[in-house]
Subunit: 580 residues, 2 copies
């Protein structure tokens, strides 16, 4: 990244491309092969999750990866179809009443395009920071719930029946209705695939390590489980013509690459999809950058939030024009890419090339692939996303976070992904406002013989009947200003001999207009009661702003640099008495 | 208020009623007369603003005042029709396509009922604090814009034409269209009334004071302008039969009190009005409590937010059953009530009684009242609400607040009240999140020879090549956690010899789950780089929560009570070099 040179800022490929060499190329190609092996079956399966034809998953991978490689800043992010985004696509399109698959594809491409435009616009206007308004536990809960929904939605392929529904209730009732048509050969194939893939990941790995194979090779082989499951299950279907016994197969997948075209889009379609596109782009972005940032930090590299938005936006727009589905950075594929040693975004370009070769020459081989095998690949892929530890951790650390997490989890599972994430975001913002609306405020007194001031409830300190010292441990802004006003006046009402109120502000990091107005009101009201309002230990940047305000000019009392100075100046030689 | 006794908590009248005496009664009756004189013409006019028959303004005043007196906690709040609420009622009902005035009245009563139920529910569930989520400058901008819209909407009555529209553009274009039908006698009556009322408020007051009349009496007389304007203009219409020359008059106002009844309400109507009711109740509540709180503070009284919600909710429900329109605490009438010496809510009961007498016996006198005179009363009443000083103050104090204020002002004026206030609230929340999302963070060094640590950019301090001390001046939560992560790693990238990062947390008032997760990630990533993460000066309540977390257990470095201890422990006898 080079902020001085705008061209290579917007086209990071010019920067890293200039320094590309043979050794990096070797690293990149090894990573590309491993990621491609993992990506191809996932891409086919995730297209089905989104309700799209399988080849669109390949197209989305080819163009998502290559365009991101040009514009993206992460050296390891592996862009392509992502489980949560495919699920959200299916949910968004299920709300529309569409006739037939042609209309469905048009709607999916429109959604992809809108998502891309939205991401690009956020990047152009440098609004990447808005992704930060999402609470991490809420996202984690959302991804867990989404993974569970995806897992349940794949059960239909295991049973050889068809089921629909955008939440657990819908999917289960739909499954139960079609249960009489369940096909047991399909179930056996599906369970067999799962067992095989899991065995490759766990059992085979141990055996190979035991017989002394190199760690890096073992790690590659253990990831080929899905590919071998696909080959073996296809062969079984072909050999025993299981398709004639009710096993659903992928069927004909068009050979070749898609043309550059975008179907005509109606304004009405745009209007009905724009909300979903906003949600998709936010979730896609947040998911991509959290993994990209984590891995970049491990290599002391930095990624640029706004340029990431541009990269992901451009990738989605390219995919929309080449008949794909929404793409983002996949968590597990990115981890694999990183561990396999991908050195630059060129690894992504090479992966795209390999997927393109498959699309060009090998799609006829996919004909016999049973859908149950693809379902098993998806189920194994989403299993690591299910993580209930957030629920337990937040319960013990913060009940506020726990509420936001449970709201997200329950609503996503029981109502659907869009309601779930929207409610989660809203809940986390309201909870944050609520928490800061009742700031920690302490009445303080001086620890005898020192210049330290402590909470009178926690320490034995000296206080004075004519003085009230209040330390505010929070920035003052609209959500807590009325609480503070209430509190000050109820404290004032308790001290009949009161002459001075000192607000001690060492932890006040900001004072907004609402708070300023309230301080003005407090100052006036206290003055009418014959009580002076003083400030102490106001931070430099705050004082810079306060100094020109009417509040400060009309302040009945003084502004002290230290609380001790304030007390010394105001205590008025009274006999101190001890607080608790 | 007596929190120990739940009955007198929910029925404050039992509390103050028990201590009622003759002297308080005298004070209350004087205030009641003055407020009634002010209220009666306003109530008629505000019913017209809401698009309702004039008598409904009287009913709303009678039942709003008396029910609030039983449940409310403010001794001076004068409940009844309020300009902003009448405008919002008109805006809410304009969105529905209603046929005829009967349907309109049903819709208005439904809106009033929903508003009451919503207020009551907020009070019951003790959610009064939610009113605090509104930024004061945003409310002030909203009230200013509403007052301007009301003023413009009254021009139709001045011109004797009819115009509609929920924003400045709509009202002006509607006025221009009907302009050819303008009636100049009406205009003369209107302008005459305004001039007279303003003269009573300003000119007459001076004269009376000059001739030595008692201040309190002058203050009463100067407020009778609207009543005399009504009497004089009615007399003129009657004497010269101006109604035959195109001057619109109020016409027949039903005599008597309304029966207790609520029209049948459709579920569809409820669905389409519930959003507006939420906005009405929030604005009604916030407007009422800000004036009530200000006045209570002046008398060292306290009002209870949740019980206020109950009082206002009950008042609106009562009004819905007696054919009125949404009510709240009126700013100017409450000020008058306070200044006239109202001692208890009994003043409100007496005002209600006086209004009831008018409704019972004097409505025939209202027949000849010209609408232009009512319009002039409204215009004079909303003038003090127009306050552009917030715009200027926020411009110089805080650009963030200025943006929220301008958004509210512009959208309310140009689009309408509901869009305006919703956008304002959203903007103020997003702006707050944005501000705290980029917290003030300082790299600090030690002031040589002291234990004080200061920003290296502002002070000459000693720093160490192996140490990085970062002071975070904000609570850590989801909106700023990624920013902090970014910042720490870019600072780390600048110091190749770095061995220790110390986070100095004296101003960190909270750490949420998102921030905790990020701290965990930072700790791990730094550890992989061979850098230890330390904490210093963490506040007691924060440490109480941190102590049991995985983050704290896995912290690679130490937790220091003071920053100086940390430096002494970690500086490793290096030769210090001076920062700027």
């Amino acid at each position: 990244m080079n902020k001085q040179n705008p061209i290579s800022y917007y086209l990071p490929i010019l920067d890293w491309g200039r320094r590309y060499n043979k050794s990096k190329m070797m690293d990149d190609s090894v990573a590309a092969v491993i990621v491609a092996i993992m990506l191809i079956p996932q891409a086919l399966a995730l297209a089905l999750v989104a309700g799209m034809p399988p080849e669109t998953g390949l197209y989305a991978s080819i163009f998502g990866l290559s365009v991101y490689a040009v514009f993206g800043t992460s050296s390891t992010l592996s862009v392509g179809p992502v489980a949560v985004l495919s699920l959200m696509t299916a949910a968004a399109l299920a709300k529309l009443s569409l006739n037939g698959s042609a209309e469905y594809i048009v709607a999916a491409l429109t959604l992809t395009l809108l998502t891309g435009i939205f991401l690009l616009a956020l990047g152009m206007f440098r609004l990447g920071f808005m992704a930060n308004f999402l609470s991490h536990p809420v996202i984690s809960a959302f991804i867990t719930a989404s993974a569970i929904i995806i897992g349940f939605s794949q059960l239909q392929h295991f049973l050889g029946i068809s089921a629909s529904g955008q939440n657990i209730g819908g999917i289960l009732s739909s499954l139960l209705q079609s249960m009489p048509d369940a096909n047991f050969i399909t179930l056996a194939l599906g369970l067999g695939s799962i067992a095989f893939i899991l065995w490759c990941k766990l059992g085979l790995k141990k055996i190979l390590l035991h017989i002394g194979m190199k760690q890096s090779l073992v790690s590659v082989i253990s990831k080929t489980g899905p590919v071998f499951a696909a080959i073996i299950s296809s062969a079984l279907v072909y050999a025993y013509r299981l398709d004639l016994q009710g096993v659903q197969i992928l069927g004909e997948v068009p050979q070749g690459l898609p043309g550059l075209a975008l179907p005509t889009i109606s304004l009405e379609l745009i209007r009905s999809l724009v909300g979903s596109a906003v949600l998709l782009s936010i979730i896609g972005f947040v998911g991509s950058i959290s993994i990209a940032q984590t891995l970049a930090a491990k290599r002391r590299e930095r990624i640029d939030l706004d340029q990431e938005l541009v990269g992901l936006g451009a990738a989605n727009i390219a995919v929309a024009f080449t008949g794909g589905l929404p793409v983002g950075g996949g968590f597990s594929r990115t981890m694999v890419n990183y561990n396999a040693g991908a050195a630059t975004p060129a690894a992504g370009l090479m992966t795209a090339l390999l997927v393109a070769l498959v699309a060009l020459f090998f799609t006829p081989l996919l004909f016999w692939l049973p859908k149950a095998c693809l379902a098993s690949i998806i189920i194994v892929a989403v299993l690591p996303l299910i993580d209930f530890s957030t629920l337990g951790k937040s319960w013990s650390y913060s009940k506020a976070d726990f509420s936001a997490v449970s709201i997200t989890l329950v609503l996503t599972l029981l109502v659907g992904v869009e309601v779930g994430i929207a409610a989660g975001v809203l809940a986390s913002i309201l909870i944050h406002l609520y928490k800061t609306s009742q700031p920690h405020v302490a009445v303080v007194g001086r620890v005898a013989g020192t210049e330290h001031f402590r909470n009178i409830k926690r320490h034995k300190v000296e206080t004075f009947e004519t003085l009230l010292s209040i330390r505010i441990d929070e920035s003052l802004y609209f959500a807590n200003t009325r609480y503070m006003e209430e509190l000050i006046f109820s404290l004032v009402a308790e001290k009949p001999k009161l002459q001075h109120v000192i607000l001690m502000c060492p932890a006040v990091n900001a004072i907004d207009m609402s708070a300023l107005g309230t301080l003005e009101k407090i100052n006036e009201a206290l003055e009418e009661l014959g009580i002076k309002l003083h400030l102490s230990e106001v931070k430099g940047p705050i004082m810079d702003k306060l100094i020109d305000t009417d509040f400060f000019k009309n302040l009945s009392g003084n502004n002290y640099l230290s609380q001790n100075q304030a007390i010394e100046d105001l205590k008025d030689y009274e006999i101190p008495f001890s607080g608790l």
